[in-house]
C-alpha cells in the first residue's frame, strides 16, 4: 500500500524568521493521481512544494518522492520530477527552442534528442511558430505554456505545478487543465497548488487544505464537501412570487434543526430556495408536495456544497473548532 504513494511527507517544518511556514505537514499522493493543495496566500503551499522539489531543506521532517528520500538523495529525485513555479521561470533572452534545449542538455539528453524533444513540446503547446523568438516577446499565456513545457522535457514521473494558472484567462486555464489530464493519462502524478477551488474540483483526485502551515483537511473533493455540510436541495419556481410557498413546502423536508431559506447570498441568483436535507429521500416528499401546491419550477436539484463553501468553512476555523470540540 505504501509503495502506491509517489509522494510522501511526514512532519515537515520550516521557519522563516518569525513565520512558521510549515508547522508539521503530513502529505501523501497516490501514484497516477492529481493532488490539489489548496490554501489562502501564505498558507505554506509554495514552501511545501519547494521542499518536495529539493529546492529547500526543511527544519524537520521526512519526505520521499518516487520512493527516494528528498533530503538524502536530491539528485536522484531531480531526475524524476518536473517543476513549474508560481512565476514563469523561462529565460527571457533565450528563444523558446533554446530554453527547452538547455533543459534537455541539463537532463543529459544528447543535443540531437534535446532538439527533437524541444520541437515536439513546442508543437504540442502551440508555440512552434514562436519557437525562434526570444521569450521576452511572448504573451503571458505563451510564457506559461513554455514554462510548463520546460518542466516536461524529462518525462517526469512527478510534476509539481505551483499555481500554474494564476493570471490566465479561463480559456487558457482550460488548456492547462487539458495538459495536466494528458500527463496523468500517460502515467505521471501531479501535485498542484492553487487558489482556485474550481481548478481543484476539476482536476484533483484528492485535496489537501493547508492553512497557517498546517494541514486542516485531506480528502477527495466529494468527501470534503460531505464533511463540511450535508446535501442541499434547491428549488427555483418559475414565478418568483411563489417563493413563500416554496419555503413552506421545503421546510417540511428540512433536515432536523434547519429551515429552508431564500438564496440571498452574494452572487446567488435571486428567486431560489435552498434547504439542507438529510438524504436524497427528501426528493420523494418535496416533488409531490410542490405539485400539490401547484408550483411550477425551472430548477430542482440536489447539491453538495461548493468547494468554495467548504474552503471557507475550513479556513475560517469551522473545522478546527469542530475538531477541538471532539478532542475535549
Amino acid at each position: 500500500m505504501m509503495s502506491d504513494l509517489v509522494v510522501r511527507a511526514e512532519g515537515l517544518r520550516k521557519r522563516f524568521g518569525k513565520t512558521q511556514a510549515l508547522d508539521g505537514v503530513d502529505l501523501a499522493m497516490r501514484r497516477g493521481t492529481v493532488l490539489g493543495v489548496l490554501g489562502p496566500n501564505g498558507a505554506g503551499k509554495t514552501t511545501a512544494v519547494r521542499v518536495l522539489a529539493t529546492l529547500l531543506r526543511p527544519d524537520a521532517g521526512h519526505a520521499e518522492v518516487a520512493g527516494i528520500d528528498v533530503l538524502r538523495e536530491p539528485q536522484r529525485v531531480r531526475r524524476r520530477i518536473g517543476l513549474t513555479g508560481q512565476y514563469a521561470s523561462v529565460d527571457e533572452d533565450l528563444t523558446g527552442t533554446q530554453n527547452l534545449v538547455l533543459i534537455g542538455q541539463l537532463l543529459d539528453l544528447t543535443t540531437r534528442d534535446a532538439k527533437r524533444r524541444a520541437a515536439e513540446l513546442l508543437d504540442w503547446f502551440d508555440l512552434a511558430e514562436a519557437a525562434g523568438r526570444p521569450a521576452k516577446t511572448y504573451s503571458g499565456g505563451m510564457r506559461r505554456r513554455l514554462d510548463l513545457a520546460a518542466s516536461l522535457v524529462g518525462h517526469p514521473e512527478v510534476i509539481f505545478l505551483d499555481e500554474p494558472t494564476t493570471g490566465l484567462d479561463p480559456a487558457k486555464r482550460e488548456d492547462m487543465w487539458g495538459v495536466v489530464r494528458t500527463q496523468v493519462a500517460q502515467g505521471a502524478s501531479v501535485l498542484l497548488t492553487t487558489q482556485y477551488l474550481e481548478e481543484a474540483d476539476a482536476l484533483a483526485d484528492d485535496i489537501l487544505v493547508i492553512d497557517k502551515g498546517r494541514v486542516i483537511a485531506h480528502d477527495s473533493p466529494d468527501g470534503l464537501k460531505r464533511r463540511v455540510g450535508g446535501l442541499t436541495l434547491r428549488v427555483r419556481p418559475v414565478d418568483p412570487a411563489r417563493v413563500p410557498d416554496v419555503l413552506r413546502v421545503l421546510d417540511a423536508v428540512a433536515a432536523p434543526g434547519t429551515n429552508a431559506s431564500a438564496d440571498t447570498a452574494a452572487g446567488a441568483r435571486r428567486g431560489a430556495v435552498s434547504v439542507p436535507v438529510a438524504g436524497d429521500a427528501a426528493l420523494d416528499t418535496a416533488v409531490p408536495a410542490l405539485r400539490r401546491a401547484g408550483v411550477e419550477v425551472t430548477e430542482l436539484a440536489l447539491h453538495l456544497p461548493s468547494l468554495d463553501e467548504v474552503f471557507h468553512a475550513l479556513t475560517e476555523g469551522g473545522l478546527t473548532a469542530t475538531k477541538q470540540e471532539e478532542l475535549v
Partner: protein, 278 residues
Amino acid sequence: MTAPTLDVPLRAAGGGDLDHPRGGPIAALARHSVALARRSLIKTIRTPEALIDVTLQPVIFLLIFTYLFGGAISGGDRHAYLQFLLPGMLAQSLAMGGIALGQNLNADIDKGVFDRFRSLPVARSAPLVGAVAADIVRYLTVCLVMLGFGTVMGFRVETGLVPAIAAVALSIGFGLCFCWISVWVGMLVRTPGAVQGVMFLLVFPLAFGSNVYVQTDTLPGWLQGFVQVNPITPLVATIRGLTVGGPVAAHLTTTLIWMAGLLVVFVPLALRAYARRA
C-alpha cells in the same frame, strides 16, 4: 492542443541512466557548465550594450589618462607614458570587467530560472561555473579592444607575438579568478546596484593603489607598502614584462599564486553563499 507524440526516447544520452549521469560527475559538470555558459553567451549577444564596460569604458579611461594626465605625470613624454599605462589599464579593466558578472547573477538568482536549474540533476556549482566560463568572451574582448585601440594611439608591443599572446592568456586567466569575488558578493547582497557599490569599494583602491598609473617609488612609504601586497601589482608588472619588456618570472609566479589564492578562497565562499541563497 493536440495530444503529444512523445516519440523521443527517455534519457537517450549514450550510456547514462536515471541515476548515473553519462561519463561520471566531472564530465557531467563540464557538460552542464558548457550548456549554461552557452546560455550566458546568448544573453551577452542579445544585449551588446552590456559590453560597454569592457569596450568603451576602458578606452575612455585610456584616453583621459594618456592625453589629460599623461603629459603631467610623465613630464611631457606621452608615448612613454602610454607604453607604461596600457598594461596597467588592461589589468584594471579586467578587475572591473568581473563586476557585471556578479550583478547579472544577482539579478538572475531570485528569478524562477535559477529555481529551475536547482530542480534539475546538475551539480550545484554548474550554474556559477557556466556563468564564469562565459565571461572569457568579455575578458578576451577587453584585451583585444585595449591592444587594438592602444595601437591606434601609438602603443607598440616591444617583445614579440608569443609573449603578447601569453600576456592576453594570463590576463583572461586572472579575470576568471578575480571575478569569483564578484560572484560571491552577488550571492550575498540584495540588489545588482549593491553588487556594483561593494565591488567599486574593493576595485578602486586596488586599481589606484597600485603600479597602474605611476611608478611605485614616487609614492609615500605607507602607500608603497599597500602597493606591494596588492594582487593587481604583480599582474601589471607581468603584463608589462610580456608586452614592453622587463623582468617576468618573479612577477608571474606571484601572480599565479594570487590567482590560485583567489580561487581557493572565493570559489567555496561563492558556492556556499549560492547554496544558502537557494
